[in-house]
Amino acid sequence: MAVLTYREAVRAALSEEIERDENVVLMGEEVAQFNGAYKVSEGMLEKYGPKRVVDTPISEAGFIGMGVGASMLGVRPVMELMFWSFYSVAFDQILNNAANVRYMSGGQISCPIVIRGPANGGTNVGATHSHTPENVLANHPGIKVVVPSTPADAKGLLKSAIRDNDPVMFLENTILYGEKGEVSDDPEFLIPLGVADVKREGSDLTIVTYGRCVLHSLKAAEVLEKEHDVSVEIVDLRTIRPLDIDTVLKSVAKTHRVLIVEEQKPFASVGSQLSHMIQREAFDELDGPIHRLATIDAPAIYSPPVEVEQLPNPDRVVKAALAALA
């Protein structure tokens, strides 16, 4: 065990897998010589050389598509998107090619690619750079989607993602890169995809969440406990697809009240899917309607103090939790 930042945990996963498997290659804009736009890959070029850590031109459709093609022949590319927001430039490669090739070939072809990078708002970079596409990605069967909230989860899940034989979309968060936590240094430390994690136990309300909203929810839970005598259980999905609905349902059966917290635009979001599944499978367990706190429904505003209010934040979580309990 060591205390690592989220950034270091991602780097550790990448490094260990590059060392373990000669087919793993890290590729993306500014990952090598510049040490990564967010310094995730700092020092890796020096350590592993230009065959394993590769700078690309600004050609997302080209290099992601190239990675998909290479993965069909057994290379295991880990492609960094400087921001997940730029996935739109490579949409066809990811969601037509990577997602469908196995199916259309009748299972003859696998696509063991990982596409990773930050996907979050909250840094005042405006509407073009603040997309959170986990719902869009998860809407495509054939694709797996992971959104880790802690350094340990980031490491264990990324290692599993790299070893996975399906295309895995791995969504990090620029604001979490500096967060610290205990992380195992066992090279076989793997967290399987599709296993949620109860980040806090409680009895009055279940908050289902993932990514940075886990941290907001944990802060809100403290306030709810101290100031409102409410005991909150927090389920961190960790993986959006495959989805561990059983852990969610188990918690609902315990608390009977649900709040979903997500940094997503509300329409057809991950929370929409969850609400449907919870009401369908645990209708009798519910003591009230399922509540949801999402990003306020508009493109991401630039103005720094207002962006804080557009996104979920601990205050908004507290208010939403009290509404869910009313």
Binding site: E29, E30, Q33, F34, N35, A37, D55, P57, I58, S59, E60, A61, G62, S85, F86, S88, V89, T123, N124, V125, G126, A127, T128, H129, K265, P266, F267, R292, A294, I296, D297, A298, P299, I301, Y302, S303, P304, P305, V306, E307, E309, Q310
Partner: protein
């Protein structure tokens, strides 16, 4: 890795001051061009200080060093000429005549900003000045530039569109698709590559194959040119040629303008991994567009030391005033988050559709 020079004569004086478009300039017009560059420089330096004082969030991509490109190009605009660019957009915004107060206020995220604090540094717009942004996705604005030209042609207007991009943007698929459409349909658009040698920390040699960036136009049967972009006269002479051709003959072109940025890619770039201090200093000393133009105008006896001093002081004062205005302005409120999303929501009395527009 060092900056690769565009295949132009690497000298500031190529006789471009004698080109008719420059020869016809009055002394006052020349002074105004000089003043524009100085105003942009001072505005951006002031914005950098505001950023360092944490008044500005997100990214700030400074144009410092490239001023001759936008001032030279935009000074040629007629009433039906239009401009679009990427996120390094402050210079173009001022060159088309946007006021510095709302520009600074936008950086501060204030409701008085040119986009009401909604867009930020990368997303300036002024359709009333034929300025269509301000775009954050590399290369994404280039098809829009072709679209502006399409609209001009469609409406029978004798104008042209200037679609600016960086040297890194040329490798985006959307750029090539736009090239093909523009050439295929003879759209009056000039694709302007501001080649400052680097896309973030990647030099041109490490990102682009082939002999030159503009030359790729040949594959589409498009005209192309290059130009020494540190010299305002030369920018004007080169751009005038292609803009006139676009307006008169409705023909697209690619122009690659050699330029340089002194600051990091954005304020967040430590600027240590891809070029040397000496290289930056060399450009500053020998190719600064403001210095070069100042020397020319002094030798032409258009500028005096007193006037230079005065222009500089006024530009600094203007930038300070813009910062004061921004500082004193209110932020938008959370209620503003959901305005300006749909025309119909903002014009509820004229709404024709039914159903819910917003969700929670």
């Amino acid at each position: 890795m060092s900056k690769k020079s565009t295949n132009t004569a690497d000298v500031a004086s190529s006789g471009s001051e004698k080109a008719p478009i420059n020869a016809q300039l009055s002394p006052d017009a020349k002074i105004e061009l000089y003043r524009q560059m100085v105003r942009i420089r001072r505005f951006e330096e002031r914005s950098l200080r505001a950023y360092q004082a944490k008044k500005i969030g997100g990214f700030l991509h400074l144009y410092i060093g490239q001023e001759a490109v936008c001032v030279g190009s935009c000074s040629l605009m007629g009433k039906d000429d239009h401009v679009i660019t990427a996120y390094r957009d402050h210079g173009h915004a001022m060159a088309v005549g946007m006021d510095t107060k709302p520009l600074m206020a936008e950086l501060y995220g204030k409701a008085t900003g040119c986009s009401k604090g909604k867009g930020g540094s990368m997303h300036y717009f002024a359709p009333d000045k034929n300025y269509w942004g301000g775009h954050g996705i590399v290369g994404g604005q280039i098809p829009l530039g072709a679209g502006l030209a399409y609209a001009l042609k469609y409406k029978g207007l004798k104008g042209c569109a200037l679609a600016f991009m960086g040297d890194g943007a040329v490798n985006q698929g959307a750029v090539h698709e736009a090239y093909n459409l523009a050439a295929l349909w003879n759209l009056p658009v000039i694709f302007v590559i501001e080649n400052n040698g680097y896309s973030m920390g990647t030099s041109q040699e490490r990102s682009s194959a082939g002999p030159g960036l503009a030359q790729r136009a040949e594959a589409y049967g498009m005209a192309w040119g290059t130009c020494f972009g540190h010299d305002l006269y030369e920018v004007r002479a080169t751009m005038d040629k292609f803009m006139t051709r676009a307006r008169e003959e409705s023909k697209p072109a690619v122009v690659e303008i050699d330029t340089y940025r002194y600051r990091g890619h954005s304020v967040a770039d430590p600027d240590k991994t891809y070029r040397t201090r000496e290289e930056v200093e060399e450009y500053r000393k020998t190719k600064d567009p403001i210095n070069l133009f100042q020397e020319k105008l002094k030798s032409e006896k258009v500028l005096t030391d007193d006037l230079i001093e005065k222009i500089d002081a006024e530009a600094r004062a203007e930038a300070d005033l813009a910062a004061e205005f921004a500082e004193a302005s209110p932020f938008p409120t959370p209620d503003d988050i959901q305005t300006d999303v749909y025309w119909e929501a903002d014009n509820a009395d004229k709404r024709a559709s039914k159903g819910r527009l917003f969700f929670d």
